[in-house]
């Protein structure tokens, strides 16, 4: 596993750029553990100070240091995105593999349900969810709700990989070599499924972080724990733009954009692997 990552890093441009960008954000988020100011406290520093030596990213109208506040915001946003992605993977891999391998009636039923979740617009439903939950809304609950709604697109991708694997001749050869189904899935098919799972996980993180930012900015989430969206929400509440405190909004937007592009580059770097033909070409398998 490690060697493929090393190869990827050396030869795959998108992967290298993606790792660098995302790595930078993760390192920045890690700084939150050494932050001198606890995240919830306000008015610990003089408010509305533009970026300076003392406060690199300046301070907010609520007397918080933007730099350290941002470390917490990025960390929480990434954790949230990661949680939603992992939760939704369980459903999309389950549905995708089951309907891909089983085929027939199961496949038809699962896929028609799956297609409905693809078509249904999720934002109004999430807003409805917040509306009825109001202050009972907590981050884990929101993560669960988004995971239950955001798995369908990826399930279809995973299903197509599973279906093509099932019909490959080497799968039959493995069956007649005495391998049990679990062994076949783990040893023979996993190398083909992993790239698609990684690709969809990165995309799902982008999707869930995007939605989190949107909901938080509108105030539809628990606005006490700092996340990127919540920071922008408070900046809007204090009409930061009109008051000329541009840094309160500029740095969160900049960092989350870097995160999006980093995750996106990681996702498309997998494209070359989802199509086994190019992997064979890379292994020098080009027949004369």
């Amino acid at each position: 596993m490690f060697t493929t990552a090393r190869d990827l890093f050396r030869y795959n441009r998108e992967f290298r750029a993606g790792i660098l960008l995302t790595g930078f954000i993760v390192a920045f988020a890690a700084l939150s553990f050494v932050s001198p100011y606890p995240p919830q406290d306000t008015f610990v520093v003089p408010p509305d100070v533009p970026p300076s030596i003392a406060h690199w990213f300046g301070t907010t109208s609520r007397g918080q240091d933007v730099f350290w506040q941002l470390t917490f915001a990025i960390r929480n946003t990434m954790l949230f995105g990661f949680a939603v992605a992992i939760l939704s993977r369980l459903i999309s891999i389950g549905v995708g593999m089951w309907s891909g391998y089983k085929g027939g009636f199961v496949d038809r039923v699962l896929m028609s349900i799956n297609d409905t979740f693809i078509v249904i617009p999720l934002f109004p439903l999430l807003v409805l969810f917040y509306f009825v939950m109001r202050d009972k809304m907590s981050w884990p609950l929101l993560a669960l709700a988004m995971a239950c709604l955001g798995w369908s697109y990826d399930a279809r991708l995973i299903r197509s990989v599973a279906m093509s694997l099932k019909s490959r001749e080497f799968t039959q050869q493995s069956v007649f070599s005495g391998m049990r189904t679990s062994e076949i899935v783990l040893q023979e098919h996993l190398p083909y499924v992993l790239p698609i799972v990684f690709y969809t996980t990165m995309n799902n993180m982008n999707w869930s972080i995007g939605l989190e930012v949107t909901l938080s900015v509108l105030g539809f989430t628990n606005i006490d724990t700092p996340t990127i969206g919540v920071m922008i929400y408070w900046a809007n509440q204090h009409t930061a733009m009109v008051a000329g405190i541009w840094w309160w909004i500029f740095f969160p937007v900049l960092f989350v954009v870097i995160l999006f592009i980093g995750l996106f580059l990681l996702a498309i770097s997998m494209n070359e692997y989802i199509d086994p033909r190019s992997r064979l070409a890379r292994m020098g398998g080009v027949r004369g």
């Binding site: 190869d7 030869y11 890379r282 020098g284 080009v286 027949r287 004369g288």
Partner: protein, 349 residues
């Protein structure tokens, strides 16, 4: 034992008109994957010619370079394929034209007017989302130039040559069977009555019964429009029934060439003789022998004659230098130090 040269029923003109001349052609695949650059010598010095109204068969196994050769002949070059040397000259409308020297416009002018192509009868040779008529209009209308109704009428009468109804033009490719699709392709390739047709494994994807039927039609149409043709297939049986002359390719080079009946009845190159004798036939149960070893890796081909690692007659010279093509009988050439040494004088009939 070469069959007595039958007197030809067709009055041959003094010198048969040579439509295609290929001289010492070289085309390599140059690829660079993760820092390792590889050069695969798919076509490494091939010379051949095809006369008017003659079908030249090209046989050889997988990765022997026959498909690359015809891609280079029709200039269907796409990286990583690269033409390294030699020339391909066609004789169209009275003028000799080196296809690799033509401009894009000139090339577009001769494609399908003088030079057409029949692809392997795979599933999607024709545009899957358009009706068959559209292919005829796109490929041939600009050359035939008549007003549309008249052009379509000519196409319909041409279709009847391959026993297809005019309604076939309204069908979508997925509605036709494999045999019908291949007959449409033949009609398409011959509607402009081109001087030269290249057929790449035209019947390999078809069943035996349909294959014989389609080959018969291909031969019929070819004779009617007196065009020359190169027919590429690994199936010696197809060559025996269709082609006039036959070239055997091995690892990027021609190893034997001559009239089909001579090459099959009296093979001189050890590889050809193995190929022909090892084929099972109905009614013959004598023990057949497989060739040991494997086709050479064209990225690092063996030195000298590339067949020497698998050749039962191999001797010292074979490992050092490529054997030249030598005439062993009228129109029958072989590249082998053992069976066709260049110094032995050949009695010219």
């Amino acid at each position: 034992m070469s069959a007595a040269a039958p007197t030809s029923a067709v009055a041959t003109s003094a010198v048969p008109e040579r439509v295609l001349t290929v001289r010492d052609l070289r085309a390599y695949y140059r690829t660079k994957y993760f820092g390792i650059s590889r050069e695969v010598r798919a076509v490494d010095g091939v010379s051949l010619h095809v006369d008017r109204n003659e079908i030249y068969g090209l046989a050889g196994e997988s990765s022997c370079g026959k498909t690359t050769l015809i891609k280079t002949i029709v200039r269907a070059i796409r990286p990583p394929l690269d033409v390294v040397g030699g020339s391909v000259t066609f004789h169209f409308a009275g003028r000799d034209r080196d296809i690799h020297a033509l401009s894009e416009r000139e090339l577009e002018g001769i494609r399908w007017r003088h030079l057409s192509y029949i692809l392997q009868g795979s599933m999607n040779v024709l545009n899957p989302v358009r009706r068959v008529r559209q292919s005829f209009v796109d490929f041939a209308h600009r050359h035939i130039g008549k007003p549309m109704p008249e052009f379509l009428h000519q196409v319909e009468s041409h279709l009847s040559r391959v026993r297809l109804e005019p309604a076939t033009l309204d069908a979508y490719p997925h509605e036709l069977s494999g045999g019908m699709r291949q007959r449409v392709t033949i009609a398409l390739a011959t509607v402009c009555r081109p001087d030269f047709i290249v057929a790449d494994e035209p019947t390999t994807a078809l069943d035996v019964v349909v294959q014989k039927d389609v080959l018969g039609m291909l031969r019929e149409v070819q004779q009617e429009i007196r065009s020359s043709m190169i027919l590429v297939t690994h199936d010696i049986g197809v060559h025996a029934n269709v082609t006039d002359r036959l070239g055997i390719m091995y690892a990027g080079r021609l190893v034997e060439e001559g009239r089909t009946v001579d090459v099959i009845r009296d093979p001189r190159h050890p590889y050809t003789s193995h190929l022909v004798t090892s084929l099972p036939r109905i009614g013959d149960v004598t023990q057949k022998r497989g060739l040991d070893g494997a086709p050479p890796n064209l990225a690092a081909p063996p030195t000298g004659c590339r067949f020497h690692p698998r050749c039962p007659l191999a001797m010292a010279a074979c490992r050092v230098e490529h054997p030249p093509m030598v005439d062993v009988a009228p129109g029958h050439r072989v590249a082998c130090w053992v069976t066709a040494p260049p110094d032995k004088p050949v009695a010219l009939q």
